[in-house]
Symmetry: C2
Subunit: 341 residues, 2 copies
């Protein structure tokens, strides 16, 4: 059928072109955003893994995998280390077909005007990490940045957007840590748009909320999705800025907290908070839910975000006036750690 490419062929074209460019290398600013984002997340993964290994002294296990349909990923996990209970840093590059139902849902839920009836070729590249330290004084951290593109028959993007963010989830409240973490994020945001931090900080509080508990997952950070309000180059610079700020936002906090003394009771409270983390990820997190319902998804890569251990006690409430209650109070009433504007 002359002039009409099947969805499969269209999508293979993008795969093949990109493969050719990867072999020729190096990837430059004139390459498609697909390849630029891929190169960025791979580099960022290496740098973060190296920073975490330096702190811990133990090496990550690296698993590279390929999708038969097109795409690949690298999952790095450090388990039962000296400093970290479990740290997972993964990247994935996916070339696929968006089924009609998914197109419909994007149109309905997120107002995406995708003019196509059948499956449409898409590309997604992202980095995702969750790090759970042993010491209950030290916070869990999460980061995710991703680029999503829907393609025209000629392989150019018909539609694209960026999404992501980073947020902090301690078991014990240290206001200094919250302020430092938010300030590093705000400084990055402010370089690109004075409205970004306040918008994305509030979006984060709203998204990482455990609805059935009526409490936030943690002390927040930033979160955004469907970001396409500026030229792609500019938003990509912003994404790089924020990704590159990860170690600056988290490592200084770890250095202050990782060697603090703690009691068994503190460790038990941390285990209960880990349980809440599991509840959020399995019940409410869109990405996890989507992944678990995708046939053929790499389940171990999706669930690397779960802590090594967790605990659920019936009707356990923190004691009045305790440090545990201080944390709970701030989860029930999310604060602005630094002025929003």
């Amino acid at each position: 059928a002359f002039g009409v490419l099947s969805a499969k062929e269209v999508y293979c074209d993008a795969v093949l072109e990109d493969k050719k460019r990867r072999t020729e290398g190096p990837i430059t600013d004139s390459d498609p955003m697909r390849l630029r984002m891929e190169a960025f997340v791979k580099g960022l993964q290496n740098r973060i893994v190296s920073d975490i290994e330096q702190l811990d002294g133990k090496q990550f296990t690296r698993t590279a995998w390929e999708r038969s349909e097109g795409g690949e990923g690298i999952t790095c996990v450090l388990q039962d280390g000296n400093v970290f209970e479990k740290a997972g840093v993964g990247i994935s590059i996916v070339y696929g077909q968006l089924p009609k139902a998914a197109v419909e849902q994007m149109r309905h839920d997120r107002g995406k005007e995708i003019s196509a009836d059948g499956p449409v070729p898409f590309f997604a590249a992202g980095i995702s990490l969750v790090i759970h330290p042993h010491n209950p004084n030290a916070p869990t951290v999460h980061l995710n940045y991703r680029y999503f593109e829907i393609e025209n028959p000629d392989g150019t993007p018909k539609m694209w957007w960026f999404g992501g963010g980073s947020d902090l989830t301690p078991s014990y409240l240290f206001e200094d840590d919250a302020i430092h973490f938010h300030q590093v994020l705000k400084d990055g945001c402010d370089k690109y748009d004075k409205k970004y931090y306040s918008t994305f900080k509030q979006w984060c509080d709203k998204y990482f909320f455990i609805k059935h508990r009526g409490e936030a997952r943690g002390l927040g950070g930033i979160f955004f999705d469907d970001l396409d309000d500026k030229p792609a180059d500019e938003i990509f610079s912003f994404i790089k800025e924020m990704g590159n700020r990860f170690s600056l936002s988290y490592i200084p906090i770890m250095k202050k907290r990782m060697n603090m003394k703690y009691t068994n009771e503190m460790r038990e409270w941390q285990q209960l908070r880990r349980g809440r983390y599991v509840e959020f990820n399995l019940v409410w997190d869109r990405g996890t839910k989507f992944g678990l319902q995708t046939p053929g998804a790499r389940i171990e890569a999706i669930l690397m975000t779960l802590p090594l251990t967790a605990r659920w006690e019936y009707m356990k409430e923190p004691e009045e006036g305790s440090r545990e209650e201080d944390l709970q109070e701030v989860l029930k009433n999310p604060r602005d750690w630094i002025p929003l504007n």
Copy 2:
């Protein structure tokens, strides 16, 4: 408005009439099924709690609660006992209004011909339990039996059905235990309908399946919903038969397993299996999902089914030829423990 009762008034009528009958007492076979089921689940809860306490030596914590909208419940939890890590046995009696969206969903998903546009008054009574023992040789067990009714303006049931079942989830495979558990259930089913066991056994395998892992939660048992194929009195007798068989199905297994020796490695495998239990309950269980999305639900009662502790290791696979692999094999390929017919 003469002749037209608001949904609120209709529903209050059933609440008030039932309250009057409870005060007069005793509840007999000529009372509405609502009250008969309520009396049954309360009695069964007491008997099961007493049987478990006798085995453990530690007492359950009992919490009675009321719903301001009508209804009540009793949640009994034994935590960190001598034999049991966590055992929750709850009953709930709910008078409520089914919102239009819920009516629509029942019509769509389950073919319920509910002829009403607005909210409709409903009643639900049920018993639910999950018991997690310490010893990794001893299995977790789950049971749930419930009665659901949608009412006419005069308080008589417009539509009713029973649902429930019971299933066994060990960390280590003892075929004798699986056979015993299934045989006790089959003997009960066979008294009422020769097709029940085979139908409900297969329904159970299908329902308690962790789709994203491609494995069953455990060794199965029975599960059914929307049961209304015989007169209500007859199905109620069947429900009582099955509820009353709980201790017979589970206690003999516990007595054989609760004092067996075990290693730290076995305990660790058990913790990983607990993680899978959490995954099923939070990601796939319809009841839990429905509960967590219900505003004002008693979250602690819903989540009493979660184990005290759980564990997630990245890419952990049992060793070839190990007892852990034996269990995994049978979860991936559910067996008929006894002939189906």
